[in-house]
């Protein structure tokens, strides 16, 4: 028994057990308050799928030694531009999603390369710099959203200039992936298409990590000196890691938006990097090492916690309007906890 417990702790890590324990308590709480568990699990699955790619975007930067990519908004903005273009060209359904991704990937490659170049200049303080690069670009794009020459009335303010804060996708590509091949098991709706998209990305990343280039990137992240002595171009691999992360951010927001059914502009992308970074840390990664399992486990745990904790909190504290406050406390609380675990992965 003692050994079994030790094995579990060794394999999962203490922090993971705390989070899983907390989640179990919440699930019992939900059952106690007679909150139906089926819809909760459905929601958790959808949220895992829609946020999973953001979490996956943390992997290349962590592996190449940059740390969690707090500058994820850069990629997200590229993805948003792609999505807006698909609406501007009056596209709908699956073609709209594919078009948005196809446009935003080359865009994100260029932006990621510039961002990677910057990160290579500030080795050692990437986390702080990337956070503020994200903030700055989001603010810059606040101007961009106003002056960009989009004409579709769905996106523009009815009067005045510029794009709306939220743009409904109901008529465009909302839930296209969620509903693809979706099925219902005992009251739980499984968003098959969405999860398959997420897992496909994970699989591609899994193959990449096991390639010559992926291995080299991990070595660069592990020990710069070792990588140099093995004849590797350290800056090149860091650049590649940043580009991959930015591209995943772009693809991630397209998938996220279709689940969310809205495109959110202006301030919304500002803090999207934090939950993703927190999720991968909760999944067992450190700022220096991460793997696919950390991504999947982390995305699921983080989102499940959010999904289950809110209705439970609302039942416990019945004062009106507490939901939003509880959401902020819980999500920032998890982020804080995850950040305290940084570097404790061993």
């Amino acid at each position: 028994m003692g050994n079994l417990w030790k094995n579990i702790v060794d394999n999962l890590g203490f922090a993971r057990l705390v989070i899983i324990g907390f989640l179990i308590v919440l699930v019992f709480g939900a059952a106690y308050f007679e909150i139906p568990l089926g819809p909760l699990l459905s929601a958790a699955l959808v949220r895992t799928g829609m946020n999973g790619i953001f979490v996956l975007a943390m992997l290349p930067t962590i592996n190449s030694g940059i740390g969690p990519n707090f500058g994820l908004p850069l990629g997200i903005l590229c993805g948003l531009v792609g999505s807006l273009l698909s609406i501007e060209l009056d596209m709908r359904g699956m073609p709209a999603i594919l078009f948005a991704a196809a446009v935003s990937i080359p865009l994100a490659t260029v932006v990621g390369a510039a961002y990677g170049w910057l990160l290579n200049k500030v080795k050692g303080s990437e986390m702080m710099v990337s956070t503020y690069v994200g903030f700055s670009i989001v603010s810059l794009m606040n101007i961009g959203w106003i002056i960009m020459p989009f004409t579709s009335p769905e996106m523009r303010w009815p009067i005045g200039r510029g794009l709306r804060v939220t743009i409904a996708l109901e008529e465009r590509f909302a839930s296209v992936l969620d509903e693809l091949l979706a099925f219902d098991v005992a009251g739980v709706v499984v968003p098959t298409g969405l999860l398959l998209t997420f897992f496909l990305m994970c699989l591609l990343m899994w193959f990449f990590i096991r390639s010559k280039t992926g291995m080299a990137m991990r070595a660069v992240g592990d020990s710069k000196q070792f990588a140099v002595a093995s004849g590797l171009n350290v800056d090149g691999y860091r650049l590649l890691g940043t580009i991959m992360s930015t591209v995943l951010g772009a693809v991630g927001i397209v998938v996220f938006s279709q689940s969310f059914a809205f495109i959110q502009l202006y301030e919304a992308p500002m803090t999207m990097g934090f939950p993703a970074a927190a999720a991968i840390l909760i999944g067992g990664a450190t700022v220096k090492r991460a793997n696919i399992l950390n991504v999947i486990l982390g995305a699921f745990l983080f989102q499940s916690l959010l999904v289950v904790s809110l209705p439970v909190a609302n039942k416990i504290i019945t004062v009106g309007g507490v939901a939003e406050i509880a959401r902020i406390i819980v999500s920032n609380g998890i982020i804080l906890y995850a950040l305290t675990q940084v570097g404790r992965g061993d």
């Binding site: 193959f207 096991r210 070595a219 592990d222 004849g231």
Partner: protein, 554 residues
């Protein structure tokens, strides 16, 4: 409640008894029947040690013999007490003591010179020596608000620091900052700090010469003798036999956690100690290989300059013949390490280097690998290993990146061939006798010698024509040393590999090399045969050879 009282009473009684019992001997420190079990693994058993004032007592043993655990017990390290404490008792000045934290140890007058330096870079030597033990005098503020605000008496502190520095034989101004100081000197500052403490009775030196050059090590040994003369007892943990024979009064040999023998130096010699330590007969490590050196020039170096901090190369000209083992020796800081690092492109280099007649692009590590060179770095943990990766990945990594070995290729895509990596690692583990739990073990958890074997295996996976090996035996135990040197000789003999071996240990260069180049002031002072006499080697190292002998070298 009753039971608790009884325990307390027994404890007091026990204490008193201990106090009376040992009064007859005047040992500063006695450690009696020390034993330690880690999670069911016995690492120490029944070890006894007695230390008199002014004695230098060497604790000798291979890596893993239990030396560190023994010292951790003496220092009350938490790693001991969080794993169930230890067996046996520690007696200081005839009194039983309980040491449950390093703080206790310090209060009892036990000092330690660490392997990693515990110094504040931005502080001067005096400040480092006196930190938290400052000499102060009162002023107005301190009279009003308490002694925390007293002024520092820099003069008195400088005088104390000077005295301590003189004792260890360090001729450097006490107001020099630590930052930028060579590692060798930092070690002496550490020691000066320990002996400056007023109640210091015992100082433990944990492999103090591991990071020092030969001349620094000599100075250190002299300093240790001076300290011992002042009445402080010294515990000297090491695996260098010559040092033990130079300065120790008594020697305790540990092997596999057990006390093998304690004996005075006068009754023993290097060979016996080596035998006791390793537990098997040690012959002269490796005989110089007999095969005839081929004619061709494998590596030609002209006017090489390398900007390697601390090991700068000014102008090196050197020819390496095909199929030979050439040694590069010399004192620390003279530039011998810079040669290999420069040719491999790890530090900025200039000059002409050609490999088998073809000019080599300098400052390009990839080009060096493609020209058939490979390098085992002197900085094993920093440059040589991915500490958080497995043994098999470490071995395969460079060959995978530079030679596309261990890969399945599909056009532009590739996938690691885990099967091949595993089989290759298993072969090498067997061949080089890498002691590990398996190819999946992280290299961080290996001992120094086994880490070195992994580094060598990694270089060999590249099938190099010329292999650079720097400080291959630094900080590794006798057993592993022998395996490493024998492997180099085997590679040379059986595969005809040309080997350039850089080492601070002249003896080991002389035991396996065909020729030895001695580097001084960033240039090759001369090339000697291993059988040349000690005087020539000594003169070359000091850079006086040409002046005194007035003849050209071979």
């Amino acid at each position: 409640m009753q039971g608790y009282r009884l325990k307390v009473a027994l404890h007091l009684y026990g204490d008193k008894q201990g106090g009376y019992a040992v009064a007859q001997d005047n040992y500063v420190l006695e450690m009696q029947n020390i034993g330690k079990v880690y999670a069911g693994n016995r690492v120490l058993k029944d070890v006894n040690l007695q230390l008199k004032a002014g004695e230098i007592h060497a604790v000798l043993g291979e890596n893993g013999a239990g030396k560190s655990t023994f010292m951790n017990i003496l220092f009350g390290m938490s790693v001991i007490h969080s794993t169930g404490g230890f067996e046996g008792k520690i007696v200081i000045d005839g009194k039983d003591v309980s040491i449950t934290s390093p703080y206790d140890a310090m209060n009892l007058g036990i000092g330690m010179v660490h392997q990693e330096f515990m110094l504040i870079p931005g502080f001067t030597i005096t400040e480092n020596i006196k930190v938290n033990r400052e000499i102060t005098r009162p002023n107005i503020a301190s009279r009003l608000f308490g002694p925390k605000l007293e002024s520092l008496d820099m003069d008195a502190m400088n005088r104390d620091a000077r005295k301590a520095l003189d004792t260890v034989g360090l001729n450097i101004e006490e107001w020099t900052k630590i930052a930028g100081m060579p590692v060798g000197l930092m070690q002496f500052v550490e020691i000066a700090r320990e002996i400056d403490k007023a109640n210091m009775k015992i100082i433990v030196f944990d492999e103090p010469t591991a990071v020092l050059t030969e001349s620094e090590a000599d100075t250190l040994l002299k300093a240790m003798q001076a300290i011992a003369r002042s009445g402080i007892a010294i515990l000297f943990i090491t695996h260098r036999l010559d040092e033990v024979m130079t300065i120790a009064d008594n020697i305790t040999v540990l092997r596999d956690g057990e006390l093998v023998r304690t004996l005075p130096k006068t009754e023993t010699n290097t060979f016996q100690l080596a035998e006791l330590m390793v537990g098997r007969k040690v012959e002269k490590i490796v005989q110089a290989s007999e095969n005839k050196v081929k004619e061709g020039i494998a590596l030609s170096v002209r006017g090489l300059k390398v900007l390697m901090p601390g090991e700068e190369v000014q102008k090196v000209d050197l020819d390496v013949f095909e199929g030979e083992i050439i040694g590069i020796g010399g004192l620390g800081g003279q530039g011998k390490l810079g040669i290999a690092n420069g040719i491999m492109g790890l530090y900025l280099a200039a000059g002409q280097v050609s490999v088998f007649g073809k000019p080599l692009q300098l400052n390009d590590t990839k080009a060096a690998y493609q020209a058939g060179l490979a390098f085992v770095s002197e900085d094993r943990r920093g440059v040589g290993l991915l500490l958080d990766s497995s043994i098999e990945m470490n071995i395969a990594f460079t060959a995978m990146q530079m030679r596309n070995r261990f890969l399945y290729r599909f056009g532009p895509f590739s996938h690691l061939a885990y099967g091949k990596i595993r089989r290759h690692a298993m072969e090498k583990i067997k061949e080089l006798d890498i002691r590990c739990t398996g190819p999946m073990q992280l290299t961080r958890r290996l001992s120094g010698g086994n880490q070195q074997k992994v580094c060598i295996a990694r270089a060999l996976a590249l099938d190099p024509k010329i292999l650079f090996v720097s400080e291959p035996t630094r900080g590794i135990d006798v057993g592993a040393k022998k395996i490493v040197l024998e492997e180099l000789v085997r590679l040379n003999r059986e595969l005809g590999m040309t080997i350039v071996m850089t080492s601070s240990e002249l003896a080991e260069l002389r035991s396996i090399c065909h020729r030895i180049a001695i580097v001084c002031h960033g240039a090759v002072e001369g090339v000697l045969s291993p059988d040349d006499n000690d005087v020539d080697f000594g003169l070359m190292m000091a850079g006086n050879y040409h002046k005194l002998r007035g003849k050209e070298v071979v």
